[in-house]
């Protein structure tokens, strides 16, 4: 399988804070890669490095074959930030169309399709500031994937999303992956991790472990992912085997 993202000894320091610290990881095509870790563990910084919004302090990250930062690949990348970043005084459709245009454009039919996908047909022409939090979150997702990206980076896409919608999101992520789209999804909710093909445990800027959910449970010899995370975190803190 093709390598979509490859990080090598990747670090990003903000003054004394080591937000990302010597991360080596590989994401392959058609994979849903879950970045798992508590708040402040460095997930957002890692995603920003992958998309080239930040320059590494040391090490490197290659995304879609290009050493980042590199604007050239961005038309093939979709990005959803943690807080919904939308133009509040534009409508849902206008927001989706704007981001589509910035990445090379999309047909009217495609925009309708995406709006239908997030189940906002009724509110397509409502101004974003009149929407609920969940609706904004959905609109953000639509903006991230309207242009058929090869790689989707989703930073905590399901925060503040109700369980029903969350299930719908994950079902759709699965569908995209089947179509060959690569997804990197960060989360701090362990039960979401089961749905990923590949997982990376992150804590204090370090990648503690990498593998599928089953592999990680077996390695840690625990019954739950949560238990596995704790086990890896302990051994990481004590300088254990990993």
């Amino acid at each position: 399988m093709d390598t979509i993202v490859k990080a090598k000894d990747l670090s990003k320091h903000f003054g004394p804070i080591h937000a990302v610290d010597g991360v080596d990881m590989t994401v392959r095509a058609g994979e849903i890669y879950g970045l798992l870790g508590p708040n402040g563990s460095g997930k957002t910084t890692l995603i920003r490095l992958m998309i080239g919004l930040l320059r590494p302090t040391s090490g490197s990250v290659i995304t879609l074959g290009q050493d980042m930062p590199n604007k050239a690949i961005l038309a093939q990348v979709g990005y959803m930030t943690q807080a919904s970043a939308l133009y509040e005084d534009l409508t849902v459709r206008e927001n989706v169309a704007f981001f589509a245009e910035m990445c090379g454009g999309a047909s009217r039919a495609r925009i309708d399709e995406v709006v239908a996908l997030i189940d906002l047909q009724d509110r397509a022409d409502s101004l974003v500031h009149t929407l609920s939090g969940g609706m904004k979150q959905r609109t953000s997702l639509a903006c991230a994937l309207v242009h058929h990206p090869r790689l989707l980076l989703l930073d905590e896409p399901t925060v503040g999303v109700d369980p029903q919608l969350r299930a719908a999101f994950w079902e759709y992520f699965r569908q995209l992956a089947d179509e060959g789209v690569t997804l990197i999804v960060s989360s701090h909710v362990m039960d979401e991790a089961e749905r990923c093909h590949q997982l990376g445990f992150i804590r204090q800027g370090k990648l503690l472990a990498e593998g599928s959910a089953d592999e990680l449970r077996t390695q840690a010899s625990t019954a739950t992912l949560e238990g596995a995370f704790l086990r890896f975190a302990e051994s990481g803190a004590t300088g254990g085997e990993r």
Binding site: L53, A75, A85, L86, C103
Partner: protein
Amino acid sequence: MNPRRIFILARRIMRQVSRDRRTVGLLVFGPMLMLTLGAILFRANPAAIPLGVVNEDEGLSIPMAGTISLGERIVEELGGSDVFGVVTLRHDEIDDRLRDGTVQGVVVFAEDFSAEFRQNQQAVINLRLEGSNPTRSMAITARVSQTAMKALAGLTSMGLGMAGVPQDDESKTKLPVTIEATYLYAGEEFDTMDFIAPVYIGVLAMFFVFLLACVSFLRERSLGTMERLLATPATRLEIVLGYMVGLGLFALIQVTVILSFTIWVLNIHYLGNLGLLFLVVALLAVVGVSLGILASAFARNEFQVVQFIPLFVLPQALLGGTFWAVEELPRYLQPFAYFMPLTYANRALRDVMLKGWGLAEIWPNLIILLGLAASLIVLGALTMRREVG
């Protein structure tokens, strides 16, 4: 009413304000800066006004005193005053020197100046004025007249001028000195508002789009859409230029309103080409937008944008030639003026409105405005580097 709650609320507000170091700094140093600037400008000893003199007076021969020239006397008196810096000119270079600004007025004494005075007890001084600054014109007229009277007052002992008993009632009311002023530009029908109007137009055109650009750019950053935008193929320069064009439309609408209103409702005099005026103001609006984008990088919230008003706009209005020409400012303030876009816009606008100049004369100012706009756009794009993280 619960005094405790009021106190707790007040304490919270004090804590918040004192944490915003910039606001505290502005509260303390802002007024000091403004007051100092004002004091410097209003107190500064005005530089000597360059005044040309053309003296063709042939003088008078007076028994026992020899030949005396009243023109000469007045010139000497003018030269002795610290109000004027006197330059002797030839008759044929008067308007050229007024045009290039090396003199602001020229006093002309005709050949028969002294003779006329003996005959009519009246000195008629021809004063040619540059004319675009009405306040300045009035000051020159008054000072020349005053100085001439002083010079002539000394002549009584020689049996000239005010000596002797007035012949009739008419001469009692006549002043011994009359100034006949003519103007190179503008003229007597222009008032102070005509002089200030070009600047007014400029300040307003720049100020509103500055605020508009600053706040909308800031909002883009605080809502996180800037991060989203930077994660698309759009470059920073493209984003800045997009803002420029997008806000440009509203800037042009505003420019149209400002110009039409001043010209047709407030009846401001203007001599030059209206299209050219529009061009200058539109250029200034472009500068306003880029200044706004640049400034937004240094503001964390809308409140801090408001703080830019006294810092960005007021010094420009004071130093940019609104009331005092840049050359008349204290020397150490002049360099600041040359960095201010308003300085060049003021010049161009006044040249067009008051002097009726065309593109051929004002283009250097337009080029500088363009250059300032371009460098501000680039600077604005560069400040976006600090966008994420």
